[in-house]
C-alpha cells in the first residue's frame, strides 16, 4: 500500500485498527495515505483535492499510525486522535510512569496482553503505542525527537 489508499485498502487499515485497538469506523470521514516507513496519515478530502493544485508537496495531514510486520502501532497523535474509540489493549499509567515513558523508559505490566502493541494513556493524555516485550515490559514507540531527555541508561522500572 502506498500513496492515497483505495476504499479496499482503507478497509484493511480499519480492520487492523479494530483488531488491535477495538477502533471502529475510525477512518470513515478521512482520506488515508501511506508514505515512507509505512506511515499512515489522514486528512480531509478537501485538503487532498486542494493539494493537486500545488507544487512540491512534502506531506499532508496527520501521521496517526505505522504499519509494521507485527501489526499496527499508533503515533502519539494517532492515539490522542482515536482516544474515544480505543476499546482494547489500552494501558493506564500514572503521571510518574508517564514521565518515565516520555524519557523512553519501558514500563512493567502485570498481565501480558495477547497483542504485540498496546496504547498507553495517563488519564485523558494519550502517550502513543508501546511494543510488548517477552520480558513483561512495554517499550515506548516514541521517536527520539519526542523524548523528554536522552538517557544513556534506559533502566527499566524496578
Amino acid at each position: 500500500m502506498r500513496g492515497v489508499l483505495t476504499e479496499d485498502e482503507k478497509r484493511r487499515i480499519e480492520s487492523l485498527l479494530t483488531s488491535y485497538y477495538g477502533i471502529s469506523d475510525g477512518l470513515q470521514d478521512y482520506v488515508v495515505l501511506v508514505g515512507g516507513e509505512n506511515r499512515v496519515r489522514i486528512t480531509h478530502k478537501e485538503v487532498l483535492e486542494f493539494s493537486w493544485r500545488l507544487k512540491n508537496v512534502v506531506n499532508m495531514g496527520l501521521y496517526v499510525a505505522k504499519l509494521t510486520d507485527e501489526g499496527i502501532s499508533l503515533s502519539i497523535e494517532g492515539a490522542q486522535f482515536f482516544s474515544h474509540k480505543i476499546m482494547k489493549n489500552l494501558i493506564e499509567i500514572d503521571m510518574n510512569e508517564a514521565e518515565r515513558w516520555m524519557q523512553g523508559i519501558p514500563i512493567r505490566i502485570e498481565t501480558q496482553p495477547a497483542s504485540k502493541y498496546v496504547v498507553v494513556k495517563c488519564g485523558d493524555i494519550f502517550l502513543g503505542s508501546g511494543r510488548i516485550g517477552r520480558d513483561g515490559f512495554i517499550y515506548p514507540q516514541i521517536s527520539k525527537n519526542r523524548l523528554t531527555r536522552k538517557s544513556p541508561d534506559l533502566s527499566k522500572n524496578p
Binding site: 486528512t43 485538503v47 486542494f50 493539494s51 500545488l54 508537496v57 499532508m60 501521521y63 519526542r146 523524548l147
Partner: protein, 314 residues
Amino acid sequence: MSSLVTPSDELLSFLKELPDMDIEAYLDAVSKPLPECFRINTLKLSEERIISLLRDRGWQFEKLPWVKTGYKLLNSTERGVGSSMEHMLGLIYIQGPISMLPAEVLEPAPRMIVLDLCASPGSKSTQIAQLMRNTGILVCNDVSSTRIKPLVANIQRCGVINSIITQSDGRYFHRWVREQFDRVLVDAPCSSLGIVSKDWTAANKYNEKISKRISKLQQSLLISAYECLKPGGLLVYSTCTIHPLENENVITYLLDKKKDAELLPVLVEGLRSRSPLEEWRDIKFSSEVKKCFKCYPYDNYAEGFFIAKIRKEA
C-alpha cells in the same frame, strides 16, 4: 552605557539613525532573555484541562491579554519548558509573546483556506490551525529544505490534520494558486533585529547591504502573497525586525503596486507600541503605514515586531 552587550559599529550607526530609538534602552532590553511564554494547544485537549494539568504539576503562569491561549511562565520548571513532557506531547507550544500576535491579527476561522507562505518552524502555522479548529485547508510553505524538517515535526506534534506542507520559493507561489486563499500570512525572513535577545549573532552580522537585499525579497514575497489572496481576503505581513527598509518600506511598495490593497489598523490590547515612521533618511513612506503595529524590544521587554494587516478589495 551599563548594558551587557556591545553592538557592532554598523548596528550602532543604524540605531542612531532611527529618530524614535532609545539606544540604551534597546541594548538593555536585548541583553535580557525573552520572557518564557507558551500557547496552550487546544487541538489536543481543552484549554481548561491543560491549565489544570500544568497547575497540578506546579507551573505558575499568567494570561497574555493579546492572544487567546497565550501565557507567560512565572516560575521555572525542573528541566525547562522545552524539555517538558507537556511540550513534547504537543499540549503546549513555546513561543515568544509578541510572535503570537500575527496569527491572531490574521483572524483565521474554521473552514477557511489559509496560506502561511514562510512557515518554518511552524509556530504561527500551528496557531492558525488551532484557530481554524483543524478544519478547512492550511497550506504551510517554506523554501528551505533544512527548515522544512522542524516545520513537519511541529505540525505533527500539535496534531494538525488539515495541513499541506510545501517546499517552494514563496516569490513564485502565486503562479499556481492565484486568488485561492481567504487568509495569507507572510512572516517574512528579516534581519531579526527585534529578537537579538535570542541570538546576538544575528545583530552582529547586521549590515546595510543585507537589509537592502532582504527588503527586495520581502517585497517579492508580499506581492506573491497578495496575488494568492481572494478578493475580500486578509493578508498579514510581519517581521521581527525594527528596520524601516524591511517594514514601512515594504508596505509602501505594496500600496504603490496594488491599488486595491487597503491597510487596516492593527489594534492590540495590553501591549505598548509606537507609530511607524512616515519618512526615514530620504525615503517617504505612505502615511497609511501609521495603521501598522510596531514595537521595539524595550517597549514590552519582549520581541521587537512589525505587523501590517491588509485587505484586498472585494
